[in-house]
């Protein structure tokens, strides 16, 4: 435990000056006030020292969102030429209770950018991200950091396999589906489609879709892949696939799931029928969505029917 007062016998803490009529005055805990008093004094003297570095840890412990403390910490680290492996450990610890704190994630990135460039560094960082995602598989910050690491350290090779495991453990985890899109497309843009093809992705999505017809994610993924093909902008379909044929096959497979009472199956079929110019079928599907399968969006479906020319 770092004794702040004992470490700064020569420093007079600076109190906060909130003016004569503070607004939204926070009832800071006494420890918070004490630590901040010394921190204000260090900022005023611009002392970049070992003890300031330790003080920033205390400030961060009381308020991890204090970005000035993180900034001051980086300045101390640079001035003291500190070992950075240790700093990543500190950040990991600070991240423990605050997995959704922007400053902590930024700090990791800043330290990595500044001091770590080897592939192994990136791999090690991915292990950290894995741990956070084990706690909360939908942590937006963690996925963002993961994408950044994968691109920076060129670690896309194992990513699809990783994501597959994530999807297996929770097929409703939409963040993992998004990561699959990211990984497959990145791999394709870096070293060609390779084993990833539009057909492969479609088959994968259909396979998972069959496990739970009420899971929106695979249906959105499936449609995303098809739409990319329809626009001729597919990154994972290098032209050899007959888009029309593929669309027709997907439509057939979805049609087999029609009696499952899933709004997602119907919604996907609306898009495909519309694409294929089958207005009557699209309208019929919208009516079923409106009346039975997706009643909460009845007004939305009614509007779609109107657009197709005709309603109730």
């Amino acid at each position: 435990m770092f004794d702040v007062q004992a470490a700064f016998p020569d420093i007079e803490p600076i109190p906060q000056d909130d003016g004569p009529h503070p607004i939204c005055a926070i009832q800071y805990p006494a420890h918070f006030n004490m630590v901040m008093g010394y921190f204000r004094a260090c900022l005023a003297t611009e002392e970049l020292s070992e003890r300031t570095l330790r003080l920033t840890a205390e400030v961060i412990d009381t308020n991890p969102a204090n970005y000035t403390a993180w900034h001051c910490r980086r300045k101390c680290l640079a001035a003291l030429r500190k070992g950075l492996a240790e700093e990543m450990e500190f950040t990991t610890e600070a991240g423990g209770d605050n997995p959704k704190n922007y400053q902590i994630w930024y700090h990791r990135r800043a330290i990595l950018d500044e001091h770590f460039g080897k592939k192994e560094d990136g791999e090690e960082e991915l292990l950290y991200v894995d741990k956070v995602l084990e706690e909360d598989a939908k942590n937006y910050h963690a996925w963002s950091h993961r994408q950044y690491i994968i691109e920076k350290f060129e670690l896309w090779d194992g990513e699809v396999a990783y994501v597959e495991k994530k999807i297996d453990s929770d097929i409703r985890n939409n963040s993992a589906w998004n990561q699959r899109w990211f990984a497959v497309h990145l791999k394709a843009s870096k070293d060609g489609g390779g084993k990833y093809s539009a057909r492969g992705e479609v088959d994968y999505a259909l396979e998972i879709a069959r496990k739970d017809f009420h899971n929106e994610s695979p249906f959105r993924y499936l449609l995303g892949i098809l739409q990319e093909c329809w626009c001729g902008e597919s990154k994972v379909n290098e032209g050899e696939e007959d888009v029309k044929k593929l669309t027709g096959e997907v439509r057939e497979k979805l049609a087999e799931m029609k009696d499952q009472g899933s709004s997602h199956v119907h919604t996907a079929l609306v898009d495909i029928a519309t694409k294929e110019g089958d207005k009557e079928e699209a309208k019929r599907l919208c009516e079923e969505l409106r009346d039975k399968l997706d009643v909460i969006r009845a007004k939305y479906w009614e509007k779609q029917i109107q657009k197709m020319g005709g309603g109730k």
């Binding site: 607004i23 009832q27 005023a44 922007y102 930024y106 994408q147 939409n174 909460i296």
Partner: protein, 407 residues
Amino acid sequence: MTDTEEKQSYSQKLHWQYLHYSLSGLPGAYSGLDTNRLTLVHFLVHSLSITSDVRLFAPQSSEVRSRLISWILNLLVTSGTGPTATAGFTGGTSIGNPFTPFTPTSSSSSSPPPPRVETTHHIAMTYCALLTLLSLSYDITTLPCHAIMNGVKSLQNLSPGPLQGSFKSHGEGSESDMRFNYCAVTIERVLWKCLNPTLPYDGKDCTYIDKKTLLEYCKGCKTYDGGIGLVPGLESHGGSYFTCLATLSTLDMIGEVFESEECLDRLERWGVRRQIGGMQGRTGKAEDTCYSYWVGGGIRILGTYRGGDDADKCELPEPGKVVEFIMKCQHPRFGGFGKNVGAPPDIMHTFYSLCYLSMSGVEGDKMGEVDVVLGCDGKVGEWVRRDGVGYGVCIEEHEKRMKGEGD
């Protein structure tokens, strides 16, 4: 079953109590927001305006108002002088500088004492400061507007890479994402008439913000499911859905990012799909009151853009169900709203819940208007959009009207 789950009606007085109480002081649990206190002030002042609490805004309450104004003006930080000076607001007083509120004349007659600590401005705080000052009828034309825009400019990422075009939040090492693009563009919109008193607003202007790379960034955030992520490559999210659409709406450039009808249809579909009773922020996540505004507001913006008569307007499919969910999150004794049923009320969720209630029109005259795009009270939104008429005039007219009504 807790008492919050019982069916409740909207309780204006209870909210006033909660909001005023919070303005005067906050429990230690808010310590984690110490550097962002200004956002809390913004949420509270605008919540009071949306709940039609005229007391704070009436001429008679000028003393309370001037205290608020002076507290906010103390948070203005400037750096350098002349045409390259930068300025902006910081979020609180924790840095340790003496209390010295900005005054319009201070730069010419006697310079204020130099700050003890050089500190960075924060783009979200600048956004909050400008809108809150306007809401309190302070003429922001007197602020160093050019320097503030220089401050905004200094935060845009211009070097090539995935973040090109986007904004950081501050200069001490910050993440960049769609939220700060929204702040940057809104600040530019709000300060436009201060810098260009006679010119109508032009979103294409690139004096301070590089619009070309900003648009490219927005395009990069489009996702395969029709939504918008916070950063290119990331999952679609309600927060980025709103901030992207509001940014583009202000610039009048929605069509430049969402080029086809099909693209707009998918964007609408993504938003509409987020209703599961109340609104969720991402596919498969739980409902949360703040997304009522983020997603509901995004859809409203889209509807306005696509035009057409009311029937054609994109709206949430079941606004009544969203209201129902929000009302379940109202705290029956303290007032305010929590993020979900049973959660304690907090200032942020209170503000966004109120915004949605105002948008939905359910409480009629009991609620003031909200400017959905700018995220502030309707009166301020109107002033911002009155090209060629300075804030001084807008405020004067408004005060006259208020006095007239008070008589």
